[in-house]
Assembly symmetry: C2
Homo-oligomer: 152 residues x 2
Amino acid sequence: MHLDEFDRKLLRLLQLDGRLTNNELSQKINLSASQCSRRRTRLEQEGFIKGYRADLDREKLGVGIVNLITVTLATHNRDNAQRFARLVGGLPEVLEAYSLTGEMDYIIKVVTPDLRSLSAFVSDVLLPHESVQHVKTAIVLDTLKEGGALPV
Amino acid sequence: MHLDEFDRKLLRLLQLDGRLTNNELSQKINLSASQCSRRRTRLEQEGFIKGYRADLDREKLGVGIVNLITVTLATHNRDNAQRFARLVGGLPEVLEAYSLTGEMDYIIKVVTPDLRSLSAFVSDVLLPHESVQHVKTAIVLDTLKEGGALPV
DNA sequence: ACTGAAACTTCTGACGT
DNA sequence: ACGTCAGAAGTTTCAGT
């Protein structure tokens, strides 16, 4: 349950490169490979490591347009919030979705191939949905930082 | 340079589990392991795969508070934008930072252990910085979706 | 708890199709 | 471009300290 300095180093290294081998890890933190293996397994089983993801290049994959869309729900009850949650859960262009304090708004991060398809997404998918009242879009001009590592 | 269906399947699978072995991949897409290895290497070298990251649990690591902070810069010239970019680049609690259309605002995603340290971050780090004019904070109440896979 | 070695699995380059 | 195969590398279990 508690993390010592070896565990934290493992987590730091694996955040930067999730495919490091136990051998490579063992050299970087001065611990045997077998211990790295055991600790890594423990960190995975106890849920500190939720998984491993390949980090892909948006532009190369043709979805270079990123948009942050603020969404106001039609009604602010639990049922409607669930409908909205199901909606964004099933939309592959939505990469992140958060509910916020304030006017009980939501903000979602959406990727599309171009501005035309972004516009189509907003007016054909988002706005017509029963749970949504209105949206405010903001296009990302520049990504200063992304995929920052959690401070461990 | 062009991706066929095998490449796309590899990318989809590796987004969901970045530690899949070539053997496991080969079974899932009906291709030999050596071909999976070759294609994976090519996808890495050509930049479709930027890297692999372990996905950690924020709450377990004691940084469960997530905040989206809208930042207005003091002046909207290039130098000031660079100062701000350097600032967020060096702050470990900032996981994402985007510049947006509209009033030339920025939005940053910040994680902290609790509300006290969030408040300290805003008033001791962000607001005093020369590049920043003012900020508007919004606490994340619920994460509906995060780390969504790019549509490939 | 850790190391080191042994048994097993995976990786990857050479070769043939 | 693909599969097969074999040597190299990595993983993980287990005995020993």
